[in-house]
Protein backbone atom coordinates (compact mmCIF):
# COMPACT_ATOMS: atom_id res chain seq x y z
CA UNK A 1 0.00 0.00 0.00
CA UNK A 2 1.27 3.47 -0.92
CA UNK A 3 2.32 5.98 1.77
CA UNK A 4 -0.05 8.61 0.33
CA UNK A 5 -2.94 8.70 -2.11
CA UNK A 6 -1.56 11.84 -3.71
CA UNK A 7 1.81 13.65 -3.69
CA UNK A 8 1.90 17.17 -5.12
CA UNK A 9 5.30 18.57 -6.07
CA UNK A 10 5.50 22.36 -5.70
CA UNK A 11 3.38 24.71 -3.58
CA UNK A 12 2.68 27.39 -6.17
CA UNK A 13 -0.95 28.49 -6.52
CA UNK A 14 -1.69 25.59 -8.90
CA UNK A 15 -0.17 23.02 -6.54
CA UNK A 16 -2.00 24.41 -3.52
CA UNK A 17 -5.25 24.54 -5.47
CA UNK A 18 -5.14 20.88 -6.52
CA UNK A 19 -3.67 19.61 -3.22
CA UNK A 20 -6.40 21.23 -1.12
CA UNK A 21 -9.07 19.80 -3.43
CA UNK A 22 -7.51 16.34 -3.20
CA UNK A 23 -7.76 16.62 0.58
CA UNK A 24 -11.38 17.75 0.23
CA UNK A 25 -12.04 14.65 -1.89
CA UNK A 26 -10.89 12.62 1.11
CA UNK A 27 -7.49 11.61 -0.28
CA UNK A 28 -4.42 11.40 1.93
CA UNK A 29 -2.38 14.18 0.34
CA UNK A 30 1.19 15.39 0.80
CA UNK A 31 2.37 18.68 -0.69
CA UNK A 32 6.14 19.12 -1.04
CA UNK A 33 7.80 22.52 -1.56
CA UNK A 34 11.55 23.03 -2.06
CA UNK A 35 11.55 26.62 -0.78
CA UNK A 36 10.69 27.85 2.70
CA UNK A 37 7.97 30.07 1.19
CA UNK A 38 4.80 28.80 -0.39
CA UNK A 39 3.00 30.47 -3.30
CA UNK A 40 5.80 30.49 -5.91
CA UNK A 41 5.53 33.74 -7.84
CA UNK A 42 2.68 34.81 -5.54
CA UNK A 43 4.67 34.90 -2.32
CA UNK A 44 5.62 37.70 0.06
CA UNK A 45 8.93 38.01 1.89
CA UNK A 46 10.11 40.24 4.72
CA UNK A 47 13.28 42.31 4.58
CA UNK A 48 14.08 44.63 7.52
CA UNK A 49 10.40 45.19 8.25
CA UNK A 50 9.36 45.79 4.62
CA UNK A 51 7.12 43.16 3.08
CA UNK A 52 7.75 42.63 -0.62
CA UNK A 53 5.65 40.65 -3.08
CA UNK A 54 7.99 38.52 -5.13
CA UNK A 55 6.01 38.63 -8.39
CA UNK A 56 2.23 39.01 -8.52
CA UNK A 57 1.04 42.34 -7.15
CA UNK A 58 -2.72 42.26 -7.77
CA UNK A 59 -5.45 39.83 -8.76
CA UNK A 60 -8.10 40.34 -11.36
CA UNK A 61 -11.11 38.07 -11.59
CA UNK A 62 -11.47 37.03 -7.92
CA UNK A 63 -14.46 34.93 -9.07
CA UNK A 64 -12.22 32.06 -10.19
CA UNK A 65 -10.31 32.11 -6.90
CA UNK A 66 -13.61 32.23 -5.07
CA UNK A 67 -14.75 29.18 -7.05
CA UNK A 68 -11.82 27.24 -5.54
CA UNK A 69 -12.65 28.39 -2.01
CA UNK A 70 -16.32 27.53 -2.61
CA UNK A 71 -15.24 24.00 -3.52
CA UNK A 72 -13.35 23.86 -0.23
CA UNK A 73 -16.48 24.96 1.63
CA UNK A 74 -15.64 28.62 2.22
CA UNK A 75 -15.13 31.88 0.31
CA UNK A 76 -12.09 33.93 -0.71
CA UNK A 77 -13.73 37.02 0.77
CA UNK A 78 -13.98 35.23 4.13
CA UNK A 79 -10.44 33.83 4.08
CA UNK A 80 -8.48 36.75 2.59
CA UNK A 81 -8.80 40.45 3.32
CA UNK A 82 -9.06 41.80 -0.24
CA UNK A 83 -8.69 45.54 -0.82
CA UNK A 84 -10.20 46.97 -3.98
CA UNK A 85 -7.70 48.91 -6.12
CA UNK A 86 -9.56 51.79 -7.71
CA UNK A 87 -8.33 53.28 -10.01
CA UNK A 88 -6.94 50.07 -11.44
CA UNK A 89 -4.01 51.98 -12.92
CA UNK A 90 -2.58 55.36 -13.52
CA UNK A 91 -0.83 55.30 -16.88
CA UNK A 92 1.91 57.78 -17.71
CA UNK A 93 2.82 57.55 -21.37
CA UNK A 94 6.25 58.39 -22.74
CA UNK A 95 5.01 61.80 -23.92
CA UNK A 96 3.98 62.61 -20.34
CA UNK A 97 0.21 62.17 -20.70
CA UNK A 98 -1.31 60.93 -17.47
CA UNK A 99 -4.48 58.84 -17.60
CA UNK A 100 -6.39 57.15 -14.80
CA UNK A 101 -8.36 53.96 -15.35
CA UNK A 102 -11.07 53.71 -12.68
CA UNK A 103 -13.07 50.49 -12.31
CA UNK A 104 -16.18 52.29 -13.55
CA UNK A 105 -16.41 52.02 -17.34
CA UNK A 106 -18.19 55.38 -17.54
CA UNK A 107 -15.45 57.13 -15.52
CA UNK A 108 -12.76 55.51 -17.68
CA UNK A 109 -14.57 56.68 -20.81
CA UNK A 110 -14.40 60.24 -19.42
CA UNK A 111 -10.63 59.86 -18.86
CA UNK A 112 -10.15 58.59 -22.41
CA UNK A 113 -12.30 61.47 -23.65
CA UNK A 114 -9.85 63.96 -22.10
CA UNK A 115 -7.16 62.61 -24.45
CA UNK A 116 -9.24 61.69 -27.48
CA UNK A 117 -12.95 62.35 -27.75
CA UNK A 118 -13.31 60.15 -30.84
CA UNK A 119 -12.06 57.11 -28.89
CA UNK A 120 -14.84 57.27 -26.29
CA UNK A 121 -17.24 55.58 -28.69
CA UNK A 122 -14.53 53.04 -29.53
CA UNK A 123 -14.02 52.31 -25.83
CA UNK A 124 -17.71 51.52 -25.33
CA UNK A 125 -17.67 49.30 -28.45
CA UNK A 126 -14.49 47.59 -27.13
CA UNK A 127 -16.15 46.90 -23.76
CA UNK A 128 -19.31 45.63 -25.47
CA UNK A 129 -17.26 43.28 -27.65
CA UNK A 130 -15.38 41.72 -24.75
CA UNK A 131 -18.41 41.56 -22.50
CA UNK A 132 -20.09 39.46 -25.19
CA UNK A 133 -16.96 37.38 -25.66
CA UNK A 134 -16.53 36.67 -21.95
CA UNK A 135 -20.22 35.84 -21.50
CA UNK A 136 -19.86 33.23 -24.22
CA UNK A 137 -16.49 31.85 -23.09
CA UNK A 138 -16.96 31.66 -19.32
CA UNK A 139 -16.02 28.02 -18.90
CA UNK A 140 -12.82 28.06 -20.98
CA UNK A 141 -10.55 28.40 -17.96
CA UNK A 142 -12.17 25.52 -16.10
CA UNK A 143 -12.12 22.92 -18.87
CA UNK A 144 -9.32 20.49 -19.77
CA UNK A 145 -7.63 20.81 -23.17
CA UNK A 146 -5.72 17.55 -23.38
CA UNK A 147 -6.94 16.23 -26.72
CA UNK A 148 -9.19 16.94 -29.69
CA UNK A 149 -12.34 15.76 -27.97
CA UNK A 150 -11.63 18.18 -25.07
CA UNK A 151 -11.26 20.93 -27.68
CA UNK A 152 -14.62 20.02 -29.23
CA UNK A 153 -16.15 20.24 -25.78
CA UNK A 154 -14.51 23.65 -25.17
CA UNK A 155 -15.87 24.99 -28.45
CA UNK A 156 -19.33 23.57 -27.69
CA UNK A 157 -19.51 25.09 -24.21
CA UNK A 158 -17.84 28.37 -25.19
CA UNK A 159 -19.65 29.43 -28.37
CA UNK A 160 -18.00 32.88 -28.30
CA UNK A 161 -14.72 31.28 -29.39
CA UNK A 162 -16.16 30.22 -32.73
CA UNK A 163 -18.11 33.41 -33.17
CA UNK A 164 -15.03 35.61 -32.79
CA UNK A 165 -12.33 34.32 -35.16
CA UNK A 166 -11.13 37.91 -35.43
CA UNK A 167 -9.93 37.73 -31.83
CA UNK A 168 -8.24 34.35 -32.29
CA UNK A 169 -6.51 35.02 -35.62
CA UNK A 170 -5.37 38.59 -35.15
CA UNK A 171 -2.90 40.32 -32.89
CA UNK A 172 -3.47 42.34 -29.73
CA UNK A 173 -2.27 45.38 -31.67
CA UNK A 174 -4.83 44.78 -34.43
CA UNK A 175 -7.67 44.62 -31.92
CA UNK A 176 -6.59 47.77 -30.05
CA UNK A 177 -6.05 49.62 -33.36
CA UNK A 178 -9.51 48.63 -34.53
CA UNK A 179 -11.25 50.29 -31.58
CA UNK A 180 -8.90 53.19 -30.79
CA UNK A 181 -7.46 55.78 -33.17
CA UNK A 182 -5.33 57.95 -30.88
CA UNK A 183 -1.73 56.73 -30.42
CA UNK A 184 -1.58 57.80 -26.76
CA UNK A 185 -4.77 55.89 -25.96
CA UNK A 186 -3.44 52.87 -27.85
CA UNK A 187 -0.22 53.06 -25.85
CA UNK A 188 -2.11 53.25 -22.57
CA UNK A 189 -3.97 50.01 -23.36
CA UNK A 190 -1.14 47.99 -24.88
CA UNK A 191 1.34 47.34 -22.07
CA UNK A 192 -0.93 44.52 -20.85
CA UNK A 193 0.13 42.31 -23.78
CA UNK A 194 3.36 41.76 -21.85
CA UNK A 195 1.32 40.05 -19.12
CA UNK A 196 0.91 37.27 -21.69
CA UNK A 197 4.62 37.43 -22.43
CA UNK A 198 4.55 38.94 -25.91
CA UNK A 199 4.65 42.40 -27.51
CA UNK A 200 1.38 43.80 -28.96
CA UNK A 201 2.10 42.71 -32.52
CA UNK A 202 2.72 39.05 -31.56
CA UNK A 203 0.21 38.57 -28.77
CA UNK A 204 -3.10 36.97 -29.74
CA UNK A 205 -6.00 39.42 -30.13
CA UNK A 206 -8.25 37.77 -27.57
CA UNK A 207 -5.90 38.86 -24.77
CA UNK A 208 -6.91 42.45 -25.45
CA UNK A 209 -9.68 41.43 -23.05
CA UNK A 210 -7.28 42.18 -20.16
CA UNK A 211 -7.87 45.97 -20.16
CA UNK A 212 -11.60 45.17 -20.15
CA UNK A 213 -11.33 42.49 -17.46
CA UNK A 214 -9.69 45.03 -15.15
CA UNK A 215 -13.03 46.82 -14.92
CA UNK A 216 -14.47 43.71 -13.27
CA UNK A 217 -12.38 44.65 -10.23
CA UNK A 218 -8.78 44.55 -9.20
CA UNK A 219 -7.76 43.50 -5.71
CA UNK A 220 -4.81 43.38 -3.39
CA UNK A 221 -4.65 41.05 -0.42
CA UNK A 222 -3.85 42.76 2.88
CA UNK A 223 -0.62 41.45 4.36
CA UNK A 224 0.80 40.86 0.88
CA UNK A 225 -0.10 38.69 -2.08
CA UNK A 226 1.32 35.70 -0.22
CA UNK A 227 -1.80 35.76 1.95
CA UNK A 228 -3.75 34.11 -0.90
CA UNK A 229 -1.64 30.91 -1.05
CA UNK A 230 -1.42 30.97 2.77
CA UNK A 231 -5.22 30.98 2.94
CA UNK A 232 -5.48 28.02 0.53
CA UNK A 233 -2.89 26.15 2.63
CA UNK A 234 -4.73 26.94 5.87
CA UNK A 235 -8.06 25.70 4.50
CA UNK A 236 -6.37 22.64 2.94
CA UNK A 237 -4.69 21.74 6.23
CA UNK A 238 -8.06 21.85 8.00
CA UNK A 239 -9.18 19.24 5.45
CA UNK A 240 -6.20 17.01 6.22
CA UNK A 241 -3.60 18.23 3.73
CA UNK A 242 0.02 17.80 4.85
CA UNK A 243 2.42 20.53 3.63
CA UNK A 244 6.20 20.16 3.93
CA UNK A 245 8.40 23.10 2.98
CA UNK A 246 12.20 23.00 2.45
CA UNK A 247 11.70 19.50 1.04
CA UNK A 248 13.03 19.20 -2.49
CA UNK A 249 12.09 16.34 -4.79
CA UNK A 250 15.06 14.88 -6.69
CA UNK A 251 13.22 12.28 -8.82
CA UNK A 252 9.78 11.01 -9.66
CA UNK A 253 9.95 7.22 -9.36
CA UNK A 254 8.71 5.55 -12.55
CA UNK A 255 7.93 1.83 -12.82
CA UNK A 256 6.49 0.35 -16.00
CA UNK A 257 5.69 3.81 -17.36
CA UNK A 258 3.77 4.58 -14.19
CA UNK A 259 4.55 7.24 -11.57
CA UNK A 260 4.64 5.44 -8.22
CA UNK A 261 6.33 7.90 -5.88
CA UNK A 262 9.05 10.47 -5.36
CA UNK A 263 12.63 10.41 -4.15
CA UNK A 264 13.65 13.42 -2.08
CA UNK A 265 17.04 15.11 -2.28
CA UNK A 266 17.97 13.53 1.07
CA UNK A 267 17.35 10.07 -0.44
CA UNK A 268 13.98 9.36 1.23
CA UNK A 269 11.47 7.60 -1.01
CA UNK A 270 7.73 8.23 -0.58
CA UNK A 271 5.18 6.26 -2.56
CA UNK A 272 1.78 7.46 -3.80
CA UNK A 273 -1.06 6.38 -6.09
CA UNK A 274 -1.07 9.71 -7.93
CA UNK A 275 1.70 12.24 -8.52
CA UNK A 276 0.82 15.83 -9.44
CA UNK A 277 3.48 18.28 -10.53
CA UNK A 278 3.28 22.04 -10.09
CA UNK A 279 6.72 22.64 -11.53
CA UNK A 280 7.62 23.64 -15.08
CA UNK A 281 6.83 20.76 -17.47
CA UNK A 282 10.37 20.83 -18.92
CA UNK A 283 11.95 20.48 -15.47
CA UNK A 284 9.51 17.73 -14.57
CA UNK A 285 10.09 15.59 -17.63
CA UNK A 286 13.78 16.21 -18.22
CA UNK A 287 15.09 16.53 -14.64
CA UNK A 288 12.73 14.66 -12.33
CA UNK A 289 11.63 11.89 -14.68
CA UNK A 290 14.52 11.52 -17.13
CA UNK A 291 14.75 11.28 -20.90
CA UNK A 292 14.93 7.48 -20.78
CA UNK A 293 11.22 7.37 -19.90
CA UNK A 294 10.11 9.72 -22.69
CA UNK A 295 9.18 8.89 -26.30
CA UNK A 296 11.14 10.89 -28.89
CA UNK A 297 8.10 12.89 -29.94
CA UNK A 298 7.55 14.13 -26.37
CA UNK A 299 11.21 15.15 -26.09
CA UNK A 300 10.94 17.02 -29.42
CA UNK A 301 7.77 18.77 -28.30
CA UNK A 302 9.23 19.77 -24.93
CA UNK A 303 12.42 21.13 -26.47
CA UNK A 304 10.42 23.19 -28.96
CA UNK A 305 8.67 25.32 -26.31
CA UNK A 306 9.96 28.86 -26.07
CA UNK A 307 10.17 30.47 -22.65
CA UNK A 308 7.78 33.22 -21.71
CA UNK A 309 9.24 36.59 -20.75
CA UNK A 310 10.82 37.54 -17.52
CA UNK A 311 11.45 40.97 -16.12
CA UNK A 312 13.87 42.08 -13.43
CA UNK A 313 12.09 43.39 -10.33
CA UNK A 314 13.34 46.17 -8.10
CA UNK A 315 12.14 46.05 -4.47
CA UNK A 316 12.47 49.27 -2.49
CA UNK A 317 11.73 50.42 1.04
CA UNK A 318 11.40 54.23 1.30
CA UNK A 319 11.02 56.59 4.26
CA UNK A 320 8.42 58.93 2.74
CA UNK A 321 5.00 58.76 1.12
CA UNK A 322 5.71 58.57 -2.61
CA UNK A 323 3.70 61.04 -4.72
CA UNK A 324 1.70 58.37 -6.53
CA UNK A 325 -2.02 58.16 -7.16
CA UNK A 326 -2.78 54.47 -7.39
CA UNK A 327 -1.65 50.99 -6.43
CA UNK A 328 -0.27 50.53 -9.94
CA UNK A 329 1.34 53.14 -12.16
CA UNK A 330 2.27 52.02 -15.65
CA UNK A 331 5.02 54.02 -17.28
CA UNK A 332 4.71 53.03 -20.88
CA UNK A 333 6.31 53.50 -24.26
CA UNK A 334 4.57 53.79 -27.65
CA UNK A 335 3.30 50.56 -29.23
CA UNK A 336 5.87 50.75 -32.04
CA UNK A 337 8.69 51.11 -29.51
CA UNK A 338 7.42 48.09 -27.55
CA UNK A 339 7.55 45.99 -30.71
CA UNK A 340 10.97 47.36 -31.67
CA UNK A 341 12.25 46.67 -28.17
CA UNK A 342 11.20 43.05 -28.58
CA UNK A 343 13.00 42.51 -31.88
CA UNK A 344 16.04 44.75 -31.48
CA UNK A 345 16.82 44.49 -27.79
CA UNK A 346 15.04 41.58 -26.06
CA UNK A 347 15.60 39.01 -28.81
CA UNK A 348 19.24 40.07 -29.00
CA UNK A 349 19.77 39.55 -25.25
CA UNK A 350 20.20 43.26 -24.60
CA UNK A 351 18.53 45.54 -22.08
CA UNK A 352 16.56 48.80 -22.11
CA UNK A 353 18.45 52.10 -21.92
CA UNK A 354 15.35 53.90 -20.61
CA UNK A 355 13.09 51.78 -18.43
CA UNK A 356 9.35 51.20 -18.80
CA UNK A 357 7.13 49.03 -16.68
CA UNK A 358 4.98 49.04 -13.57
CA UNK A 359 5.35 50.82 -10.25
CA UNK A 360 3.51 48.83 -7.59
CA UNK A 361 2.86 50.92 -4.51
CA UNK A 362 1.59 48.05 -2.41
CA UNK A 363 1.82 49.91 0.92
CA UNK A 364 -0.59 52.46 -0.57
CA UNK A 365 -3.22 49.71 -0.33
CA UNK A 366 -1.91 48.23 2.92
CA UNK A 367 0.22 50.57 5.11
CA UNK A 368 1.07 47.60 7.39
CA UNK A 369 3.55 46.35 4.79
CA UNK A 370 6.18 48.85 5.94
CA UNK A 371 7.26 50.44 9.25
CA UNK A 372 5.25 53.52 10.25
CA UNK A 373 5.87 56.44 7.88
CA UNK A 374 7.68 54.18 5.42
CA UNK A 375 6.46 52.65 2.18
CA UNK A 376 7.10 49.77 -0.18
CA UNK A 377 7.64 50.22 -3.92
CA UNK A 378 8.13 47.37 -6.36
CA UNK A 379 9.19 48.10 -9.91
CA UNK A 380 8.54 45.63 -12.71
CA UNK A 381 11.23 46.55 -15.20
CA UNK A 382 11.42 45.98 -18.97
CA UNK A 383 11.48 42.34 -20.07
CA UNK A 384 14.88 40.71 -20.30
CA UNK A 385 16.30 37.34 -21.06
CA UNK A 386 18.44 35.30 -18.72
CA UNK A 387 21.35 35.81 -21.10
CA UNK A 388 22.73 39.33 -21.03
CA UNK A 389 24.77 40.17 -24.11
CA UNK A 390 28.33 41.15 -23.28
CA UNK A 391 27.93 41.03 -19.51
CA UNK A 392 26.20 39.17 -16.73
CA UNK A 393 23.33 40.08 -14.45
CA UNK A 394 25.29 39.94 -11.20
CA UNK A 395 27.77 42.50 -12.52
CA UNK A 396 25.02 44.80 -13.81
CA UNK A 397 22.96 44.85 -10.62
CA UNK A 398 24.41 47.88 -8.75
CA UNK A 399 24.47 50.08 -11.87
CA UNK A 400 20.98 49.01 -12.86
CA UNK A 401 19.57 49.79 -9.40
CA UNK A 402 21.18 53.24 -9.44
CA UNK A 403 20.16 54.18 -12.96
CA UNK A 404 16.57 52.99 -12.43
CA UNK A 405 16.17 54.97 -9.20
CA UNK A 406 17.69 58.01 -10.92
CA UNK A 407 15.34 57.72 -13.88
CA UNK A 408 12.22 57.20 -11.75
CA UNK A 409 13.16 60.14 -9.51
CA UNK A 410 13.46 62.45 -12.49
CA UNK A 411 10.42 61.32 -14.44
CA UNK A 412 7.80 59.61 -12.29
CA UNK A 413 8.47 59.62 -8.51
CA UNK A 414 9.95 62.97 -7.42
CA UNK A 415 12.11 62.72 -4.31
CA UNK A 416 12.58 58.96 -4.58
CA UNK A 417 16.36 59.03 -4.73
CA UNK A 418 16.70 60.84 -1.42
CA UNK A 419 14.36 58.48 0.43
CA UNK A 420 15.42 54.99 -0.58
CA UNK A 421 16.39 53.05 2.55
CA UNK A 422 16.60 49.62 0.99
CA UNK A 423 16.83 48.49 -2.62
CA UNK A 424 17.36 45.04 -4.02
CA UNK A 425 17.03 43.71 -7.52
CA UNK A 426 15.90 40.26 -8.64
CA UNK A 427 17.14 39.36 -12.10
CA UNK A 428 16.05 36.45 -14.32
CA UNK A 429 18.98 34.48 -12.84
CA UNK A 430 17.62 35.04 -9.32
CA UNK A 431 14.13 33.92 -10.39
CA UNK A 432 15.59 30.77 -11.92
CA UNK A 433 17.55 29.98 -8.77
CA UNK A 434 14.89 30.96 -6.25
CA UNK A 435 11.84 29.46 -7.96
CA UNK A 436 13.63 26.79 -10.02
CA UNK A 437 11.92 27.93 -13.22
CA UNK A 438 13.90 27.32 -16.43
CA UNK A 439 15.29 30.66 -17.65
CA UNK A 440 13.45 32.39 -14.81
CA UNK A 441 10.32 32.75 -16.96
CA UNK A 442 7.54 33.42 -14.48
CA UNK A 443 4.79 32.59 -17.01
CA UNK A 444 6.70 29.40 -17.93
CA UNK A 445 6.00 28.85 -21.62
CA UNK A 446 5.23 31.46 -24.24
CA UNK A 447 1.47 31.80 -24.53
CA UNK A 448 1.10 32.19 -28.28
CA UNK A 449 -1.29 30.47 -30.64
CA UNK A 450 1.03 27.46 -31.10
CA UNK A 451 1.60 26.85 -27.38
CA UNK A 452 -1.91 27.03 -25.95
CA UNK A 453 -4.68 24.53 -25.20
CA UNK A 454 -3.92 21.15 -26.86
CA UNK A 455 -0.43 22.34 -27.81
CA UNK A 456 0.55 23.13 -24.20
CA UNK A 457 1.80 20.29 -21.96
CA UNK A 458 -1.19 18.14 -21.11
CA UNK A 459 -2.62 18.28 -17.60
CA UNK A 460 -2.85 14.47 -17.66
CA UNK A 461 0.47 13.11 -18.81
CA UNK A 462 0.28 11.33 -22.16
CA UNK A 463 3.41 9.22 -21.61
CA UNK A 464 3.46 8.46 -17.86
CA UNK A 465 0.44 6.96 -16.09
CA UNK A 466 -0.79 8.38 -12.78
CA UNK A 467 1.01 11.66 -13.48
CA UNK A 468 -0.75 15.03 -13.70
CA UNK A 469 0.44 18.58 -14.30
CA UNK A 470 -0.79 21.93 -12.99
CA UNK A 471 0.67 25.44 -13.01
CA UNK A 472 1.73 28.00 -15.60
CA UNK A 473 3.31 25.53 -18.03
CA UNK A 474 0.04 23.70 -18.62
CA UNK A 475 -3.44 24.77 -19.77
CA UNK A 476 -4.84 27.46 -19.27
CA UNK A 477 -1.49 29.25 -18.62
CA UNK A 478 0.17 31.69 -16.23
CA UNK A 479 -1.15 34.13 -13.63
CA UNK A 480 -2.59 33.59 -10.14
CA UNK A 481 -6.28 32.97 -10.97
CA UNK A 482 -5.38 30.95 -14.08
CA UNK A 483 -2.98 28.57 -12.31
CA UNK A 484 -5.63 28.09 -9.61
CA UNK A 485 -7.97 27.07 -12.46
CA UNK A 486 -5.38 24.50 -13.66
CA UNK A 487 -5.65 22.92 -10.21
CA UNK A 488 -9.43 22.76 -10.50
CA UNK A 489 -9.15 21.12 -13.93
CA UNK A 490 -6.90 18.33 -12.62
CA UNK A 491 -9.02 17.82 -9.50
CA UNK A 492 -12.05 17.32 -11.77
CA UNK A 493 -10.21 14.85 -14.03
CA UNK A 494 -9.07 12.76 -11.04
CA UNK A 495 -12.49 12.82 -9.41
CA UNK A 496 -14.17 11.80 -12.67
CA UNK A 497 -11.74 8.91 -13.19
CA UNK A 498 -12.23 7.51 -9.72
Amino acid sequence: MADYDVIVIGAGCGGLSVASQMAKQGRKTLLLEQSELIGGCCSTYDRNGYKFDLGASIIEDPASIDRLFNRLGTSVFKEVDLVSCDPTYTVITRNGTKMKFPISIEETAKEIGKVSQEDVKGFYAFCEKFKGFLDGAKEFFYMPANNLSDMMEIVKKNPAMMKNPGLIFSSYQDVISKYFKNETVRESLSYQSLFIGLPPELCQGLYALIPYLEHGGMYYSKGGMGEIPQAIKRVGEKLGLVVKTKTAVAKVIIRNKKAVGVKLEDGTEISAEIIISDIHAKSLYFNLIGEEHLPWIVKTGLRSYEPSINAPMLYMGVDYKPPLESHHTLFTIPVKDMNDYWWNVYEKDGYAKEPFGIISWTSGSDPELAPKGHHVLIITMPPARIRYAGSDWAKEKPALIESTIDYLSKKYIPGLKEHVKLAELATPVDFERRLRIPEGSIYAIRQDFTSTTIFRPSSKSKCIDNLYLVGASTHPGGGVPVTICSGMIVADIIEKQS
Binding site: S171, Y285, D448
Partner: protein, 44 residues
Protein backbone atom coordinates in the same frame (compact mmCIF):
# COMPACT_ATOMS: atom_id res chain seq x y z
CA UNK B 1 -6.16 26.87 -67.88
CA UNK B 2 -4.85 25.11 -64.78
CA UNK B 3 -1.45 26.78 -65.21
CA UNK B 4 -3.06 30.24 -65.46
CA UNK B 5 -5.11 29.61 -62.34
CA UNK B 6 -2.04 28.38 -60.47
CA UNK B 7 -0.04 31.45 -61.53
CA UNK B 8 -2.92 33.74 -60.50
CA UNK B 9 -3.05 32.15 -57.04
CA UNK B 10 0.72 32.54 -56.59
CA UNK B 11 0.65 36.19 -57.75
CA UNK B 12 -2.30 36.94 -55.46
CA UNK B 13 -0.44 35.32 -52.55
CA UNK B 14 2.74 37.29 -53.21
CA UNK B 15 0.76 40.54 -53.53
CA UNK B 16 -1.13 39.82 -50.30
CA UNK B 17 2.09 39.21 -48.37
CA UNK B 18 3.82 42.24 -49.93
CA UNK B 19 0.95 44.55 -49.11
CA UNK B 20 0.48 43.21 -45.58
CA UNK B 21 1.65 45.60 -42.81
CA UNK B 22 4.92 44.57 -41.16
CA UNK B 23 3.24 43.80 -37.84
CA UNK B 24 0.76 41.40 -39.46
CA UNK B 25 3.62 39.69 -41.31
CA UNK B 26 5.46 39.20 -38.06
CA UNK B 27 2.33 37.82 -36.33
CA UNK B 28 1.74 35.24 -39.05
CA UNK B 29 5.43 34.46 -39.47
CA UNK B 30 5.66 33.48 -35.80
CA UNK B 31 2.75 31.08 -36.27
CA UNK B 32 4.22 29.62 -39.48
CA UNK B 33 7.66 29.31 -37.87
CA UNK B 34 6.25 27.24 -35.03
CA UNK B 35 3.80 25.16 -37.06
CA UNK B 36 6.20 22.19 -37.52
CA UNK B 37 6.19 21.74 -33.74
CA UNK B 38 2.42 21.47 -33.40
CA UNK B 39 2.33 17.68 -33.75
CA UNK B 40 5.13 16.99 -31.22
CA UNK B 41 3.54 19.51 -28.84
CA UNK B 42 0.21 17.73 -29.09
CA UNK B 43 1.86 14.58 -27.66
CA UNK B 44 3.42 16.30 -24.64
Amino acid sequence: MKKILFAAVIIAGVLLVTMMPKSKKRFWWEIIRQTPYLIPRYFV
